[in-house]
Symmetry: C2
């Protein structure tokens, strides 16, 4: 795997057999040593702290050992092997801007056929489960069809990959028309595309909506890729994008006695190196914005308006009407969902619940490790 090694006291340069090269610092190598005194061989956790590494650390030798790298560190006199493949997987010696989109994500618009899996398949076949979870990871959205039209079936969806996030709305909640609705979701009104609960910090990162009845007129679901909307905004108005990403918004919900949820988070959340982390967009629960400098407020509102137009653009949304026993899951940090208004003699009854991406992505990664052909 490695072709050659050179070193100085503070860094090693390795050449890989594919012709690329990379430098690694002494402190980085020592901290990430894979030997059993540095990392527990069972649970793989690091056994040392940074203060256990002498501040006068230096490399005294580095050489090829098979295709691997063997490094000796002073003053410990410790020699550690680093597999060539492991080094190739952890190269950090590269130039270039961090891309806007997180690794493994692909954005989409209304021309995308809705990714869809079958209830029985994902429950009986680990490959089908893997593919369904992979769609959620890549696209932030997937449907599930052919399930039972039974109350609480949505909890069995969450059980496939992780754990329900219980909130003041319960382990799950009923989405149907109420007489005195504590939330406009519990009416027949149309709802603009939105992410759920931006007034909650941390926001629930997944939402499942499961259909039990849907014979009313209207009530179609629409999903919109918020990352695509953010991409489009940045392309056409980088300054507006920077305003929405550069200042916290405010969100609030006080629809029920004893509940007073508030968050101070941006509508477009970026990682410190500029990668899309989350979208928060919800006309119903946006509170008065008080963290934008006075002189920027009108331009902020113009960008906010434009983001809403992009989200409302019919070309952006994937529409479908859920049948009883059908459900969909969204990455609530990315994909917005809307509903058309409904009325008439029929009924519409959905159940919803929240869950988190940590469990979904962990289950997916474990399935992919068991079934390496997943990478094909």
């Amino acid at each position: 795997m490695l072709r050659s090694v050179t070193f100085s006291a503070r860094q090693v340069t390795v050449a890989f057999v594919d012709g690329t090269a990379a430098r690694f610092h002494a402190i980085w190598l020592r901290d990430n040593a894979l030997d059993p005194e540095t990392r527990d061989p069972g649970n793989r956790q690091r056994l040392i702290t940074l203060s256990d590494i002498p501040a006068d650390l230096a490399i005294t030798d580095a050489q090829l050992a098979g295709g691997d790298l063997r490094v000796t560190f002073a003053p410990e006199g410790k020699t550690v092997d680093f597999p060539g493949t492991w080094l190739a997987d952890h190269v950090y010696d590269h130039a270039g801007q961090t891309p806007l989109l997180p690794k493994g994500t692909t954005t989409w618009d209304g021309t995308m056929p809705a990714p869809c899996s079958d209830w029985r398949d994902v429950r009986s076949n680990p490959r089908a489960l893997r593919d369904w979870l992979a769609a959620v990871a890549e696209l932030g959205f997937a449907k599930l069809t052919g399930g039972p039209a039974e109350p609480e079936a949505l909890l069995r969806v969450a059980d496939l990959f992780g754990h329900v996030r219980e909130t003041n709305y319960g382990r799950f909640f009923e989405v149907r028309t109420e007489v005195n609705p504590s939330n406009l979701a519990y009416t027949g009104l149309g709802l603009q595309a939105h992410t759920d609960n931006p007034y909650r910090d941390p926001v629930p990162t997944l939402q499942i909506l499961y259909c039990l009845e849907n014979s009313a007129e209207g009530g179609e679901s629409i999903v919109v890729d918020g990352f695509r909307a953010a991409e489009r905004l940045r392309e056409e108005d980088p300054a507006g994008f920077a305003l929405l990403a550069g200042h916290p918004a405010r969100f609030e919900y006080r629809g029920t006695e004893g509940v007073c949820l508030r968050a101070r988070r941006p509508m477009i959340e970026l990682s410190p190196d500029g990668q899309l982390q989350a979208i928060r967009f919800n006309n119903r629960s946006t509170a008065p914005l008080v963290d934008i400098p006075f002189d920027d407020m009108e331009a902020y509102y113009a960008a906010y308006r434009r983001l809403g137009e992009l989200i409302d653009d019919p070309a952006m949304g994937v529409s479908f009407k859920l049948e009883p026993g059908e459900s969909f899951i969204v990455d609530n940090t990315r994909v917005l969902h809307a509903r058309k208004g409904y009325s008439g003699s029929g009924s519409r009854w959905l159940q919803g619940c929240y869950a988190d991406k940590d469990g979904l992505l962990s289950t997916l990664a474990a399935l992919q490790a068991q079934q390496p052909e997943a990478a094909e």
Copy 2:
């Protein structure tokens, strides 16, 4: 409340009776109108979207109405009243840097007496519950004493304010020595001060640790204010602080079959306007850092080392040994916890669980609204 009002088409200037003045934009006022067509009087949610507000919005009249502000908007011809007190609460026309510390937080070091409430008090007296929650909100840490030494009592602590966050570790987990520990927490080893589960995104924002047995030698708990450590780092080394805040770290946990948790988040997370949002620090689960530019890696490691030294500084930690029936709660986005090693003939058995701050802060805000003297 208001003394005078002047206006132009795009903004209103109000003078408050206390002598201060503030400007509000037309679009901001219209979007935040409190009338029943704009906000649902029951659940207080906004009924309109930004696209419902005409782009050629203009103020045609603004005047005093009692102590309040009355504004008329064209082209809708809509007149809306804004209470003077509401305007005073939502002023955004001010200069100045956002402070590093979130509003309502106070940092501390080892000289702080541990905030402590009584199990029976917080369960029977809403004021005691409010004060205990207020300590967690302000300081990120509080003890609870006098509880039953009964398994699962910690779940009754979480029930006081919100909901358990279930994870791959279960609804709660046993912290005691295991033969083949899936996590170094389940050994007698000392643990450097850390935040829990930085490899999880979203991270659990609260942790409860509840003592059932603690007769072993050692095993003391130590808590450290990560926000104070970040403050100290910024004071002595602003460039190092900027490196830790400016680049994502990586965290990983794969200690159990079927679990593969990974996160890409900074050790010091700031809001886009530079306010402390979260600290992530865990020597055991920090993965190879690959998002720091090569030329910054050594300086990043120097700052990371210094942050660890500040966290390990004995002057920073509040120490105590939990007795059976005692517990503590930490804001896991801020306060680190450590444990001294333990051994000997006795036993040590804690139970731990995670929960989230949304529920805690909501319950606190609702209690404060019911008991306004809380603000004294």
